[in-house]
């Protein structure tokens, strides 16, 4: 369905970004660094930004790293993606963990930034629809982004798809779905956590 689609993945040199890039490659996506591209995925993650701490223990430097920098990196990715995609159209996907939707204690700065990124995607979708750029979010559990950080997500429900792994392959599958021809979806968030969080 998306075999041979040329994609640029941010953060693909290490960690979560590399895992996403690799899983997309397994699905037949062609990973490139130069134009033309039809798909841009913002998968860069700063694991330090996801280190849990109470707000009272959050220094100004911590706050900037976990909130301001996360937002700025999303803005820079979006603006870069616009330059690459506005002539021919395409798909831009942000990875936005579900802690934005649910909120998470001890991750106030990061969860705030994630909700900011989801709104960035919606505004971009509204502004760039005329240029045939679709902008969406894929939301896995935060633990997938920073496997060494320990538990991050609040305990809200059991996964509906118990026993089905909600891993990085699920993220890649959703991204390819959103990159497919003829999918009239923009400004949306697809939750890929096996049915823990269900959006109202």
């Amino acid at each position: 369905m998306t075999t041979g689609v040329r994609a640029l993945v941010t953060g693909s040199e290490s960690g979560f970004g590399r895992a996403v890039a690799s899983a997309l490659g397994d699905l037949g996506v062609e990973l490139v660094h130069d134009d033309p591209v039809a798909l841009v995925v913002h998968a860069a993650v700063d694991p330090v930004a996801l280190e849990p701490r109470t707000l009272a223990e959050t220094s100004s430097e911590d706050w900037q790293r976990s909130c301001d920098e996360v937002l700025r990196s999303a803005l820079e990715c979006a603006q870069d993606a616009y330059r690459r995609l506005h002539g021919s159209g395409g798909s831009l996907v942000f990875v936005t963990p579900t802690i934005g939707i649910t909120g998470a204690a001890h991750l106030v700065a990061y969860a705030a930034a994630v909700e900011g990124v989801r709104a960035l995607a919606k505004s971009a979708a509204r502004q760039w629809g005329g240029a045939r750029i679709r902008v969406n979010c894929v939301a896995p559990r935060a633990e997938l982004l920073a496997p060494d950080a320990g538990p991050l997500s609040p305990d809200v429900a059991e996964p509906a798809l118990a026993g089905v792994p909600a891993d990085v392959r699920a993220v890649a599958s959703a991204i390819t779905l959103l990159a497919a021809e003829g999918i009239v979806v923009t400004g949306a968030t697809i939750v890929v956590d096996g049915g823990v969080v269900m959006i109202p």
Partner: protein, 254 residues
């Protein structure tokens, strides 16, 4: 009838005009001592308006992007009124209603939105925490439909207003065990910014009203601030982490 805030102390950021002034006046009318926090002297006009109606208020010069200003404003509440029960973060960038294309948003516009809304929220929460814990208080943050459905005209504004909802939900989880509530309010109100926009584009009022089931744009004090007073009061003591939408039914997608 409005809920009672008798003997409560409320701090409102960005209370020199608009929705912030409406909230400050409504809280004072409900019996609270209001600390009117604003970076400019128009905070004094809000205080004068409250006092002329028999309410209690004082002005704290406060730029929410400066941590020391926010700390001082909370210290002012403690000195002037004996403590702080409710922290209301309403201030937004002065460039909030400046239309922009996302691809053209520059660092200055972006950083100003982030600094006032988000760094400001961080400063307010940190500064108020000990008081709110000691007094089983609450924090209220002003958000916007732009944060929930995106915005065609104001992408940076939409981003920070959405981030405030992530902030609200997360801090509600973190502070719930301490008995401190954190909520957001999404208003649609006749603000100075809205009045200006309608002056420039008279058809805007009709377009907006068409999308509002109740058929009109809200009054800052009678329609929006009363909802803030409710959330601040004991009547809402089992409500936390929520976004209360006071917009005549314009946004119904939650």
């Amino acid at each position: 009838m409005t809920a009672s805030l008798a003997d409560r102390v409320v701090l409102v950021t960005g209370a020199g005009a608009g929705v912030g002034r409406g909230i400050a006046r409504a809280c004072a009318a409900a019996g609270a001592h209001v600390v009117v926090a604003s970076p400019r002297e128009n905070g004094v006009e809000t205080v004068d308006a409250i006092r002329s109606e028999g309410g209690a208020a004082s002005w704290a010069r406060c730029d929410v992007t400066a941590r020391v200003d926010v700390d001082d404003a909370v210290a002012h509440a403690v000195t002037e009124a004996g403590g702080l029960d409710v922290m209301i973060h309403n201030a937004t960038s002065r460039r909030s209603s400046e239309p922009a294309r996302l691809e053209d948003v520059d660092r200055a516009l972006w950083d100003d939105h982030v600094a006032v809304s988000l760094t400001g929220a961080y400063h307010c929460a940190r500064a108020a925490r000990d008081q709110l814990r000691a007094r089983s208080g609450s924090m209220i943050l002003m958000t916007s439909p732009a944060g929930m459905e995106g915005s065609l005209m104001l992408p940076a504004y939409g981003v920070v207003k959405a981030a405030l909802r992530g902030f609200t939900k997360s801090l509600a989880r973190e502070w719930g065990p301490d008995g401190v509530r954190v909520n957001a309010v999404s208003p649609l109100a006749q603000t100075p910014a809205m009045t200006n926009a309608i002056k420039k584009d008279p058809a805007l009022a009709e377009r907006l009203a068409r999308r509002v089931p109740l058929g009109r744009i809200g009054d800052t004090e009678a329609d929006v601030a009363t909802v803030v007073v409710f959330l601040a009061s004991d009547a809402a003591r089992y409500v936390t982490g929520q976004t209360l939408v006071a917009d005549g039914g314009r946004y119904l997608n939650l």
